[in-house]
């Protein structure tokens, strides 16, 4: 998992997690939104740190014909050029001093996660009974079904 993918994944999972939280987890424990963030960010930071220090070896991706990860400091190369797995190679080589940028990018995962979860909250709502902006855009059929369900339950 490279930096660019990490940013996208943080944002996307922030969104998905906020939906899962509203739909299933909030009724069990309201702190799940924090647990999810901690679990996800911990996993992502750990994986990236292990790749960075070559403990997780990503050179196995070289079996793909379009991938050419160098054997020396392959982890760092992969982190900067992670789209290589999809055939896009930015060919960014790790230079001294880029650790600072890498650290900022890693820290920014938490912000991207936060933005994603905020957007999820706006789109889907945050409390059990809320539906967010979806309430406005939902199809009429869904509204009719919801109304019938509500009337049956009452």
């Amino acid at each position: 998992m490279g930096f660019a993918e990490g940013l996208i994944l943080s944002f996307t999972l922030g969104w998905i997690n906020s939906y899962l939280y509203r739909k299933y987890l909030r009724k069990r424990n309201k702190d799940w939104i924090v647990f999810l963030a901690v679990i996800f960010l911990f996993v992502l930071w750990t994986v990236d740190s292990l790749i960075y220090s070559n403990i997780i070896d990503v050179s196995w991706l070289n079996f793909l014909p379009w991938v050419n990860i160098p054997s020396v400091e392959g982890g760092k190369y992969f982190l900067w050029n992670s789209f290589i797995a999809f055939g896009i190679d930015f060919q960014i080589t790790h230079q001294p001093g880029m650790e600072v940028i890498a650290s900022f990018l890693l820290i920014s995962y938490s912000f991207w996660y936060y933005f994603g979860s905020k957007l999820g909250k706006v789109i889907h709502g945050s409390k059990i009974y809320q539906q967010g902006h979806y309430l406005i855009y939902r199809p009429v059929k869904k509204f009719i079904r919801d109304r019938e369900k509500e009337s049956k339950n009452s």
Binding site: K121, V122, G125, S126, K127, I128, Y129, Q130, Q131, G132, H133, L135, I136, Y137, P139, V140, K141, F143, I144, R147, E150, S151, S154
Partner: protein, 376 residues
């Protein structure tokens, strides 16, 4: 002094509150209450189950011993005879009407216009017009969006009761025609009538109208904090609390100066953005400030209107109702700013003079009675 009053539309939202107010403040008034037979009412008042059929008005109030309930249908003259046989009323509160933005004009005319015609015909034949006071419910909607006078800074001034008719939707058209029928009786037969034109009503038990806004804000989890610039383009939110509406009807019925007059019943002017911000605060949902230039807002609101129109059409195809009737969406595109000066000058004092007190009372009731969902 003992009085006999007739309240039609007695099972509706305003009707029940008017009866409650009479019972509490007029111990010597006896009430004949009327409304449609239950099956017919359920069929016509589909709007009352727009969110759920668990929401009911406080019709239990009709079981009071000072009230005699006689079912009747304004569209069928024969059913009205029982209401007037051997009775001399002091006051008639004509509330009954079909207030439904989704209804066809034909049906609205049948109930709201033909209904008052039938009622007035029998009133003319059976009652003493020198003694009788007739209070008829109309709507601020009969003005549509009037041409507002402006102050020196270009801000619109609230329109008073002299604004011309320009009804923007079927319901308001039917109410305008209802007023014209009544005015004919005022001019021709010197009927001692007063027209009240309430703004959209809010308050406990209210199901249709302002309740939609509360449901949407509560269920969506956010208050749309659109702040329109320039500020003189900000849209007003005309409102009245149901208790003040009931109180003002009684006040006007007892006031000789109100004869033949029409009165706007509306709170002091408030703006949609202030209303939504306070509502979001009361419901404990997020509120985003989002300043928008007026031309962009118009485009955005027209898009929402179009979206709602599609939903209306779709709901009609499915033989059902949409969550928001199209005419309600007009509040996001039109300026409805009305003055309550005339009724205030007459001496009426609002119990809920500003939108904050009225809104807090309403929202607290909804939350306490679980009409608005909350986690607590």
């Amino acid at each position: 002094m003992s009085k006999l009053v007739l309240v039609d539309g007695a099972k509706g939202h305003t009707g029940t509150f008017l009866i409650k107010e009479i019972l509490e403040t007029k111990p010597d008034w006896n009430i004949i209450a009327t409304d449609l037979p239950i099956d017919k009412r359920d069929e016509l008042m589909a709007k009352e189950t727009i969110f759920s059929n668990r929401f009911k008005y406080m019709t239990e109030i009709l079981e009071n011993e000072r009230i005699l309930f006689i079912p009747a249908d304004l569209t069928q003259k024969s059913t009205l005879i029982h209401l007037f046989q051997g009775k001399r009323y002091d006051i008639i509160f004509h509330i009954a009407s079909l207030y439904d933005y989704f209804a066809e004009l034909e049906l609205l005319r049948k109930i709201n216009v033909e209904g008052i015609q039938n009622l007035l015909e029998i009133v003319y034949k059976t009652q003493d017009l020198n003694k009788l006071r007739f209070i008829s419910w109309s709507t601020c909607g009969v003005y549509g969006e009037p041409k507002y006078q402006k102050n020196e800074k270009g801000y619109p001034l609230p329109a008073d009761e002299t604004a011309p008719y320009e009804p923007p939707n079927n319901y308001s058209v039917s109410k305008m025609e209802q007023e014209l029928v009544l005015k004919e009786y005022i001019n021709k037969y010197q009927l001692k009538a007063t027209i009240i034109r309430p703004a959209p009503i809010m308050g406990p038990y209210q199901i249709y109208g302002v309740f939609h806004i509360m449901q949407i804000v509560n269920k969506s989890g956010f208050g749309p904090g659109i702040h329109i610039y320039p500020k003189k383009k900000r849209l007003a939110m005309p409102l009245i609390h149901v208790e003040d509406l009931a109180r003002s009807a009684i006040f006007l019925a007892e006031n000789e100066q109100s004869l033949g007059e029409a009165y706007n019943l509306v709170l002091d002017p408030c703006f949609q953005e202030d209303f939504l911000e306070y509502l979001a605060d009361l419901l404990n949902v997020d509120y985003f400030n989002f300043p928008v230039w007026w031309p962009f807002y118009k485009i955005f609101s027209k898009f929402l209107y179009w979206l709602n129109k599609r939903k209306n059409e779709k709901a009609k195809k499915l033989n059902s109702r949409p969550p928001i009737d199209l005419s309600m969406a007009e509040y996001t595109t039109h300026q409805y700013l009305f003055s309550n000066k005339k009724v205030k000058d007459l001496g009426f004092k609002f119990k809920f003079p500003d939108f904050r007190s009225a809104l807090k009372d309403t929202v607290d009731w909804y939350l306490n009675n679980k009409w608005l969902e909350s986690e607590y």
